[in-house]
Symmetry: C2
Subunit: 450 residues, 2 copies
């Protein structure tokens, strides 16, 4: 029985303390009790020096599995610590799919050496897998599929499986193929075990199969698994011949990676970023995003600069102007987030985007007018000027309208341009709400208050 | 063979057009070809009037399944359109777990009627399920588990399953229980089919089982499934007696819901929000978030207001001040996002948070100084004033330092207070970077330039 109640955070504190105190026996004890994915999480949770100390205590036989579970950036810090022979040993135990995952991160000399040490069949399989695009079904599939023929009896299938003695991990169905290797159905193990053995596979198999073509994007495969409630599905080539299978256990990783990517991209970060990366490379990577945002900040400053006369005469404008920009930014980011979620689920198309736009305009008018009255009242009380109150109210409504429209339009346009809306949507949106906000408020003030 | 290449967006456009043109036959044809989860996605993708038209074309026998797949808010719009008898019919086909999911959303009269129409056993099961907390393993588990005894032979198991004729959906393993109903192991179907039938269950079962206690949080169950690479696991009561099973197919939903929640919460939205909700309720819900942000905007304005003298004398300060606030906000949100991801994965604890803080301070100094030089140069060129350049550079470094520290400290403090950092982290952070940014820049200007 495993104790499933202890959280990772507890283990983390424990192992971190043990590492610091150099209590290697305690470390070994904890590590021996962990799954590779848990060791991976622990390694990712440690600062570089402690991470390497833990890595050196991880038993060589799980090295490969652990490397598969860490993010790319952490993986390279771990590989840096291994010598040639250790890497080869770690990679040797992996199946083709997993090895392909790791292969492109290996130092060139190690990779060449590994290729040389493989037999012809292994090498060919690896090269076939590597030929598929990353994030495609071909890279995601497992090749250890069991295929059976439709015209045999269940008894024959049972005998065949007993003769094999083991069934590959995460097998919940056998693939039924014809004489030419074309997939004609699938036979779930649950059906196999609950029917008389003299039935034929053909009578029992599920022939209404969701085929996955080898080039299908992982993201689309994940959607298919979710909407069709699949546990596994055959991957086929262009002729419909069986190449492998994708199982839901691997889909879970795709879903987690995709959601992590959306979250990280919205802050201009890479989802492979190591939480404990050294300062210098981290700073360099984040600098790019800061630079892009500096451009938009200077754009906004440029807009403000055009109204120096107004600011010079009425200091209240400078005090209040960030409110107009900020409310637009918040309203816009709400609309943008809803639109990004809708687009990720495939729910926004040309046919309904106009309805959405009208809805957001309606919301912008209601919330714009409502909060504009509050802001106007406070501004009038603060600065004893009716004019400023009226102008900030109008500017606020204008900016919230712009935010609502931009929140729907920006992700649609970015997507059509082939740019991920989650990555750049918020910068573009902030630019719009800053520029419109400052221009409306200071422009109206220039027109009517000077 | 199913065509898996047509995307949801294409189908959506097609069905939307057909609905608008009242081509009910075409609509029926498309709907007949879809899985309940796909119908649910389509319904969610339609404006209210079209959604109801499509809902009325959905065959009654899948109504229950579709209701399970839509978000809460959409569900209530669909339930509103159904009469008493339709709701009862839709709910009747569901198993206890699914019914419990739906039950709390049913109109009270319908719920009472349903309880009356159930037999004693059904009613008791439903009440037991409802007694578990939402988002707990007890609510997530399926109760249609097949239990077998350890001392029987595989042959007996085979005979038993053939006698039952069907195995519940998504069964990939049988639970092995002793005479008192205590779980002693699990028997994967893959092992059952690949071994000689005269073996005993006890010799073949996996007794190193990850038990899930009925009160465990869904989120923790999902983590366990991912780190231990599980496909299914038994749920047990406090004594270790078998209550049910959780399968990876349901974990996928938990993972998706959690990631959706993080994304939506960061914009102050509820993950159950209907993309096509009517304007009025949507506006009301979002108004709260805007109001909270208005408070922080006024706080920032209040800070600016304290430096009216400086703004009155040097108009360049008003032009440049948003740059200081904005760069701090961006830098802080990068740190915050990394911290929120790390906390969601359980990777941040007391032991490593200091290391992280030092790292973020390092990055803030590097990027702060780097971009401060750029901003200073541009400011000097723009306003021909060395003083302003020096002051904006110092203010920028100060604000980026504050952003880095706040980006780590805020989520840690919020979590200790039991508040979801994804929900309120960004408001608190923006308040800090706005206040510090304006205060540093305008304060330094007041001290040294007036």
């Amino acid at each position: 029985m495993n104790d499933t109640t202890e959280t990772l955070e507890h283990r983390l504190s424990g192992i971190h303390a043990a590492l610091v105190k150099d209590e290697t026996e305690l470390v070994d004890e904890v590590v021996a009790d962990l799954e590779p994915a848990e060791i991976a999480l622990l390694l990712e949770s440690l600062p570089p020096a402690d991470r390497i100390r833990l890595w050196e205590r991880v038993p060589a036989e799980v090295d490969g599995e652990v490397l598969l579970h860490v993010h790319d950036e952490v993986r390279s810090t771990l590989l840096d610590d291994m010598d040639h022979a250790e890497i080869v040993a770690a990679a040797t135990g992996l199946d083709t799919t997993d090895l392909a995952d790791l292969f492109e991160d290996l130092p060139q000399l190690v990779a060449e050496d590994m290729l040389r040490s493989m037999d012809e069949q292994q090498r060919q399989r690896l090269q076939e897998t590597l030929a598929f695009e990353e994030d495609s079904a071909g890279r995601l599939m497992r090749t250890d599929t069991i295929g059976v023929r439709a015209d045999v009896s269940l008894e024959t299938v049972h005998r065949f499986l007993r003769w094999k003695e083991t069934v590959p991990d995460n097998t919940d169905a056998l693939m039924v193929v014809d004489r030419n290797g074309l997939v004609v159905g699938i036979l779930p193990l649950a059906r196999l075990v609950s029917h008389d053995t003299d039935m034929a596979v053909a009578d029992l198999m599920d022939s209404d199969v969701d085929f996955i073509s080898m080039g299908m994007k992982s993201r689309d495969v994940a959607t298919l698994f979710q909407t069709h409630d699949l546990s596994s599905a055959p991957v086929v080539d262009d002729e419909g011949r069986l190449l492998g299978r994708i199982v839901i256990e691997d889909i879970v990783d795709v879903i987690r990676d995709n959601s992590e990517q959306a979250l990280m991209n919205m802050a201009g970060l890479d989802e492979e970023e190591d939480l404990f990366a050294p300062v210098l490379p981290s700073a360099r990577r984040r600098a790019v995003w800061l630079g892009i945002n500096l451009l938009t900040a200077f754009l906004a400053a440029g807009v403000i600069g055009r109204f120096e006369a107004a600011l010079d005469q009425i200091v209240a404008l400078a005090v209040l102007m960030p409110i107009v920009a900020s409310m637009g930014g918040i309203a816009g980011s709400q609309t943008l987030t809803l639109a990004i979620r809708g687009m990720a689920l495939g729910q926004i198309s040309r046919t309904n985007s106009q309805w959405l736009m009208r809805k957001e305009i309606g919301i912008a008018i209601l919330n714009g007018v409502g909060w504009a009255l509050v802001v106007a009242l406070l501004a009038i009380l603060w600065f004893k000027s009716l004019g400023i109150g009226v102008i900030i109210a109008i500017a606020l409504v204008i900016n919230m309208l712009a935010a609502g429209i931009a929140g729907i339009a920006i992700p649609l346009v970015l997507k059509r341009m082939g740019i991920d809306p989650a990555l750049s949507g918020s910068v573009v949106l902030t630019t719009v709400t800053d520029v419109v906000g400052f221009m409306a408020f200071l422009g109206l003030a220039t027109l009517f208050l000077l």
